[in-house]
Every structure is written in structure tokens, then in C-alpha cells.
Symmetry: C3
Subunit: 262 residues, 3 copies
């Protein structure tokens, strides 16, 4: 049975809060999606900052509204800086979000991701393969693609949420967002979003921005998913392929309002 | 005398194979073109993955359909990871492609590029200056620009192909693709493509994707060149400058079909 | 009292010189803006090259028309390469430009930026918070945002110009460009430019390109600011948000002419 859809008015409240607070999101993310991630955050009304030198990452994580840890192009050096930032974030009660890109198949990042699970992430956002791998189950993932269905990974996501205390978002054709007990379902978007690099990674940054907001974290994270699904849907209707999708998507995020979320 | 043009129906067959196989391309490329490279691969129907940590690069090169080595922003650390990946690729019969960005003028990358020539690249894609430099001839290159004509570099490309066993593509206003004996000529594109960063680097990624396919590697590499030339030509007709070119180009790659290649 | 506006015919002369010389700009810049910076330089008629390995950076800084040092994602390793490049640039009389991203709040980059101030930058481009921080004054900056007004930072910019010998550009809603004695004022642009990552960083690259040109460096730097303001203004009139702004902005830079600058 499908969990309930996040009501549009809840998403609208979170959007209002996001634009009012314009949270500063400290992004430690992969080399491929830096620009798109920053532009997505700016378009929706948050403030991105990419700070990676270990001393500075610790300083910055302490003052940022939220910290994003994305392991897409993890290196030994970057993983050290991320650990320093996560600890600084925890000491300052800055929420941090994990995007476990392509976890499961690759040894180095899998070890890192499993290690940081114990460091109290506020939220985890991944596709079905990634969530299954984090929860210790078999994954059919191939690189960053997910060959698993989001709904089938929901039980694993619920266990992962219970074990880590994080809100867990499994994204795919439909998204499921759970705190281990309650679950929202988010629909929308479209296949074209998978033909543009970084839509998932940028969503994780928006999840981080929403973790900086007051109110129910479960609702906040589900709202982040809803923003992207709705803007994606709108952009698809006016684009002719993945090239024209990207500007249309950023325009849609910028113009997003309560009406569009209803 | 100009070599023959690659027939459109051959390019169409390669495009069909590419979309059917959707090869996973392990990209170890420069910092400037990561996003565009990934989006070009996604638009045409391949699957990009950027994996750079040495242990992971070795793991991934072994399972990927092809490996791309682009030295545009080479560092000592990255060159070590690339070597590990190339050796793993060779052990697993994963074809790997060299993009020798700005080779010739800069000492560190030139040494690296000459070293890896002996490690059996499946293909090499560069502009005339770069191919001349790899073949040990004088180059008039200035940074990443090519001040040499592609056709005039064809004899050097043929020698390079014979020496390395690679398919060599020299790209410019016209492209020439040779296995040292047979050569295809590819026309199309336009000057605006040189005003957008990464069109050459992204072509090398598409060359890598096509090296993962069955059939004649010479035809496959020439087809990769043809895809970019044709999509570029189509994008130029609907764009007003290099800004609107980029989305139009990705849309054209996404929509590319046998008719457009005829 | 507002300084005089840079006359349009002066900006037009600089644009003409820029397109004629097409200076090669060696960019050592942050991870987030690499592609956009390269595309901005290509669109306006300069030639970008990102070279970061220390040995190569020294080689390249010596032959480039100008060197850009942007500390947005500074690391210990990158700062060493930058120092090598700055020294090579100075030995070869290659002008170099400092973009002190987010200086003030973060210790590592602040130390680096203050150190290199003594190495004779040709120009410094920052927002009000960054210029105040470099001049040793309190800054209200929050990450890369500037919460200070450009005009109020003009006295600090003038002192900084006198101390370093650099042309100093403070950019914001209006830009001020000073050599410590004479000051130009540049108007235009619009709020949407702050919703796209890298417009300031790319401006610094254009400033570097203009520092490679003959004539008054003060005028050249102010002209760089004017190019971006005017192209931004034009792009805003035809765009629907930050997504459609970017292609329109690159198209406007490409099409920029004396008439538009008048």
C-alpha cells in the first residue's frame, strides 16, 4: 500500500520558510555537480557555499545552516575534510545530510558511507540501490544509476531511519520519505530528469537547506523532494530535450509558489 | 586528396548500437568539462560515471564499458590514479581513450601522454596541434587552441595510429579518423562550437562510449565524430550565440536519429 | 558624491582591443565556476586555459596574457601551485588578478590573500565585504554574499589600491573601480545576476583578460565591469529566471558591441 502523498499546503509552508530564512548550505559535493547544485540552491532561495579545505570546512560547518556530504567523487583527502566538517557540524548542532552516490559497488566510498552513518546524519537521500546498500542489502546498482524500484526499498529505508535517526528519502520515479515510522510519498517529475546530470545530487542540497528550517524534519525533507518533482514536471512541459530542460528547471524553481505546489 | 566521408547509414547503425547498449563510460577528465561531458553522454544515450580515487578507479575501470583519460587539468595525484585505471582497464579488456589536451607545450602532461601511448589506447582524439605533438612533430598550438589544420596533421595521425594501434581522430573544421591505413573524413559542425568549452572533450567521451560497441572500431569512432558534428550543425541553426548553443546542442544529441545522419 | 561613469566609447575601445588580442587567460579558479568562467571568456573573445599542476602552472603563467587567482575553493595544495604561478607571472611581467572570494571569515584563505597582496597584483576584484576584509576592516560578509554596500567600501578600496599598486574593483549593485586616486563608476546589471553562481568570479576572469591589454589599466578594468553589467542587463530583459539568464547572458557577451556599450 502506498503511503500518503505530502499535502501541497505543507510543501508550500516549507517553501515559504526556506525563502524567508535563505539558509546557508555548506556543500561538500562531487566535482560533476558543483555548478548545478549551487544554481539550484540560488534559484530556490537558499545560499550555497563550497568550502573544502579541512580547517575552513570545520569553521564553516559550524556557522552554516546545514552541511551536505556527497561522495560522488570521493578521494582520501576529501574524505578527511568531510569527517572534520561532520564533527564540527555535530558540535554546533548544524544538521548534515548524506548523499551516498553509487555506494555499494565501490569499496572506498562504501566504507566511508557506512562509517559516517554512526555520526548522526539529519537526513540521507539516495536512490533505491544506494539505500539498499546502506541498509546492508543486495543492490542491483550500476554506477550512479539505480536499477531498483524506490517502493521496494522502503522497508530498508525504514530500518535505516530507525538505526541512524535520520530522515531517509529514497528517490526514483516516485519518492518515499520516512522517519522509520511515518512515511510520505511524493509524485511528479519525469524521465527527462534522469538525462541531466545532478538532479539527484542537487535535490540532496535542497534537502540540506530544508533541514536548516524549523518544524517537522520529515515534512521538510519531503517538501524538498516535492519542490524538485514539481519544478521538473513544469520544465518538462516546456523543454525539447535535456538541454532546454536545465534552464527551464532553474526558472521553475525560481518561480515556484504555493499555487504550483497545490 | 580528401578521404571518403563516413556514410550516414554507418553512423546510424552505430547510434542504434549505442542507444541499445547504453555503455557505462568511466570518465577521468578535467575539472572544466565534467558537467558538460556527463550531460553529453546522457543526452546521446550513454551512462557517465566519474570515479577518481585510485582504488575505486581500478575497480570501476574493470567493470565499465570504456575508460576516458583526459589530461586537461592533470595533477601528479590524478596522473597516478589514471595509470592505475588504465592498467585495470587493460587487464579487463576495457577499451580506453586518450584526450591529450594541450599536449606539447606543457612538460608534465606531455611526459604523461607520451608514457601512456605505450599502454594500448583504443583511440586517441585531439586537435591537429595535439596529434602533431604526440607524433613527435612541431606544434604551433597555443594552450588548448589548435593553430594547425586537421588535414595537414593526417600523415602524423596515421603514423601515430600505426605506432600505438589506436584509432586516431584529428578534429577541427573537418575531422579525420584513421587506423593508420584507412581513413574517414567527417564534415559538419561550425565555428560556434569553438566558442563553448568542452565540445572536444565531450566528443572524446562519446568516442569512448563508441569504443565499447561491437563492430569496426574505425567506423565507431568516426560515427562519434559525426554525431557531434551533426548535432552541432543543427544547434547552430537555432541558436543566437554560444549560450543558447549549449541547450540546443544537448537537445539535438538527444533527438539525433538516422534521418538526421543521412 | 558618485564618481563619474566610465564613458561608453572607452569601454568600446577596450572591447575592440580584447577581441583583436584574444588574450590567453590562465585561470586558477574555484571548483564551482570553472565551466562558466571558460564560457564567459570564450563568449567575449578571450581564450581560457585552466592549468593547475605546479610545474605547468609556472610554465603557463609565463606565456599567458594574464593570470587569474580565485580562492573560492582554496586548498593547501592549490595555494602552493598558485604561489608558484604568481611568482612566474611576476618574473615574466604577466599581470595577475586576485579574486578574494569570501575572504575575512575563513582563516586559511584570509591568510593566503593577505600574503599575496604583497606580490603586486595588477587588479583585485571583490564585493564590498571582501574588499573591506582585505583592507583590514570589519566585514559583515556571510560566505560569498556581500552584506555591505559597494560605495561605502570605496575609501577602503582606495587605500587598498594605494597600498598594493593594484586597480581595485568593488562590485555590487553598482561597481566602483579605482587606482587609489581616480575612480570610475559602472552601472547596469540587475538582481537576477546574484541568483546565478559565478557571475562575480567570471567578471574577475574578464578583468584578467583586460589587464593583458595595452592602454590605461584603470579604464580596462572598468570596461570589464561594464561588459558584464551591460550583457547582464540585456540578458535579464529576455529571460524568465536564473536558468534562462545564463544562455542569454553568454549570447549577449558574444554579441556585445560599441552600440550596446554607448
Amino acid at each position: 500500500m502506498q503511503p500518503d502523498l505530502l499535502p501541497g499546503h505543507r510543501a508550500a509552508t516549507v517553501l515559504h520558510d526556506l525563502r524567508h530564512a535563505s539558509p546557508l548550505v555548506h556543500c561538500m559535493t562531487n566535482d560533476v555537480v558543483q555548478t548545478f547544485t549551487a544554481n539550484v540552491l540560488l534559484a530556490i532561495g537558499a545560499a550555497p557555499a563550497m568550502v573544502i579545505e579541512p580547517e575552513e570546512a570545520a569553521q564553516f560547518a559550524a556557522v552554516a545552516g546545514a552541511l551536505l556530504i556527497n561522495i560522488g567523487t570521493l578521494t582520501a583527502e576529501r574524505s578527511d575534510a568531510m569527517l572534520v566538517a561532520i564533527h564540527a557540524a555535530n558540535e554546533s548542532s548544524t544538521p548534515w545530510v548524506l548523499d551516498p552516490v553509487a555506494v555499494g559497488g565501490l569499496t572506498f566510498r562504501t566504507r566511508f558511507a557506512l562509517d559516517v552513518l554512526t555520526l548522526k546524519p539529519a537526513a540521507i537521500r539516495g536512490n533505491a540501490s544506494e539505500i539498499l546498500a546502506l541498509a546492508g542489502e543486495q543492490s542491483g546498482g550500476r554506477g550512479v544509476d539505480s536499477t531498483d524500484d524506490a517502493f521496494s526499498a522502503l522497508p530498508a529505508a525504514q530500518r535505516l531511519a530507525q538505526y541512524t535517526g535520520a530522515i531517509v528519502a529514497i528517490t526514483g520515479e516516485r519518492d518515499y520519505v520516512t522517519d522509520g515510522k511515518n512515511t510520505w510519498h511524493v509524485a511528479g517529475g519525469g524521465e527527462l530528469m534522469t538525462r541531466v546530470v545532478g538532479t539527484g545530487c542537487a535535490l540532496s542540497a535542497v534537502v540540506a537547506a530544508c533541514c536548516a528550517l524549523p518544524g517537522s524534519r520529515l515534512d521538510n525533507v519531503a517538501a524538498a523532494c516535492q519542490f524538485m518533482k514539481r519544478a521538473g514536471e513544469q520544465a518538462i512541459t516546456v523543454s525539447h530535450g535535456p538541454g532546454s530542460f536545465t534552464p527551464a528547471f532553474l526558472d521553475a524553481l525560481y518561480a515556484l509558489n504555493a499555487e504550483a505546489l497545490a
